[in-house]
């Protein structure tokens, strides 16, 4: 694959189709009958309370785990088949970044093109520089991951995903633990990337501003089930109590929520 240095991030986008996916660990059902379609080029957000199974769903989609039943297709290839990753380029931005701690930021980014022999050291340097510059990380190139702040780690993780020239970018809570300004920056990056490299984006987030601001469609997952899939506009006007409470929780110290929490026995 020749690296096009003028605009290295070009490619055709792919869609995802999740068909009746169930996932259980032991006898705990984490995902129950999840079905959704992400169209090529779309920004699709998944929201939901902590522990509702969002990360687990992403693991099935990127093929790190195999669903107990049902299947995930990426561009009509089964996601759990290792061969699929040679056919479609997908990149996963892990919730915790998952940077290689023994490698510098530059080497973190260069690992993929080097291992897959995508051009000589010069073109790889161009490619890495370009990805770093998109996320304003040029100065951090020689730092080790342990020297970075949380927000920078996240940006490096996104840059590392970009170097892969992905057709599909999957983010797990890209703005968690970031301050509001940085969160807004990340949202802008995700939206801009679609313009620049026409990538399909799947974003798991708690960040209402991000989801309502840039998503084409939003799915809400609760307890491993999909509650609704709708556009941002539709979601704003949704009047189901459980959805409105999730989107705009009212803090009421007189009637605190934690009193209502029950040990939910499966």
């Amino acid at each position: 694959m020749p690296a096009d240095t003028a605009n290295p991030f070009t490619g055709t986008t792919v869609g995802i189709s999740v068909e009746n996916v169930n996932k259980s660990y032991g006898n705990v059902n984490v995902l129950r009958d999840i079905s959704l379609d992400v169209k090529p080029g779309e920004i699709f957000c998944i929201m939901g309370p902590s522990g509702s199974g969002k990360t687990v769903l992403l693991k099935q989609i990127v093929g790190l785990e195999k669903p107990t039943s049902g299947r995930v297709l990426i561009d009509n290839f089964d996601a759990s088949d290792p061969e699929t990753r040679t056919k479609v380029h997908l990149a996963f931005v892990f919730q915790a970044g998952a940077l290689f701690n023994s490698l510098s930021v530059y080497d973190n980014l260069a690992l993929y093109p080097r291992e897959h022999r995508l051009g000589d050291e010069n073109s790889i340097r161009e490619r890495v520089r370009h990805a770093l510059s998109i996320l304003s990380l040029e100065k951090a190139a020689d730092k080790m991951p342990s020297e970075l702040s949380g927000g920078m780690k996240k940006r490096v993780a996104i840059a590392r995903a970009l170097v892969m020239e992905p057709q599909l970018l999957v983010y797990d809570e890209p703005t968690a633990e970031l301050d509001p300004i940085l969160s807004a920056t990340i949202s802008e990056i995700i939206a801009t990337l679609r313009e620049q490299i026409a990538v399909t984006s799947l974003v798991v987030t708690h960040d209402r501003a991000l989801a309502l601001g840039i998503a084409d469609r939003i799915a809400i997952i609760m307890d491993g089930r999909i509650r609704t899939i709708s556009t941002a506009q539709e979601l704003k006007h949704n009047t189901e109590p459980i959805i409105t409470d999730f989107m705009n929780p009212v803090i009421d110290p007189k009637n605190p929520r934690f009193r209502k929490l029950e040990p939910n026995n499966e």
Binding site: V62, L64, R85, T86, E115, H116, R117
Partner: protein
Amino acid sequence: MLKRFVLFCENFGAALIMLANSARHLKTLPRQFSRFIDQCYLIGYTTMPIVTILSFFIGSVLALQSGYSMENFGANQFIGTLVGLSMARELGPVMVAILVTGRAGSAITAELASMNVYQEIDALKTMNIPPERILVLPRLVAVLFMMPVLSMVANLCGWYGGAIVCQYTQFISVDTQSYFAALKRYMNFKDILDGLMKAEVFGFVVVTICCHIGLTVRGGPREIGAAVTNAIVTSLIFILVLDYFITMALL
């Protein structure tokens, strides 16, 4: 008990699969030359000082003990043979294997386990880079290169340790020249080769075990420590049990 046996078989099979997957990437080795060198450094160079010191003292003690007991029937002139053969055939390889387990094996398991716990291994998988290729293969090849080197160093240090003790201990007083003459007279090149072969097997098994345990850790950071302990204990058991069978096969 049965459950444990099944678990052992599962792990054994998984380790073999890991080896097979590493072997499939053998042709990428030239490209990974710098990783190979790094691992040679970590496995060989960092273990070298402790190998020299310990083997020197093991050789010395061996000479001292055998001098003490052989004096009674005037067999002092054979101390060189005894130290030479024991070091080359048995103590050298086993000691090096144990030290490599403690020094390098534990570091391998800790590193791979933490990569696993912090999802770096998952990240490699999503990048379509097989962990076996860049993490296991260079280590295996490096240990195969370094074990003979470490064992030879251990042999030499052990022999010299014995020689020095023989020369300067009053009740032994065998001079260095006749010590090494005895060492040479009854020792074949095959004895050294057998020892090196043992060392190769030990090194390969230890690195396989340590990589496998590191790569299959489940859970959080607490499990990293448990994995290291597990890897060391398993490696030591394998070394000593294998030692018996290899010795039997080679005699």
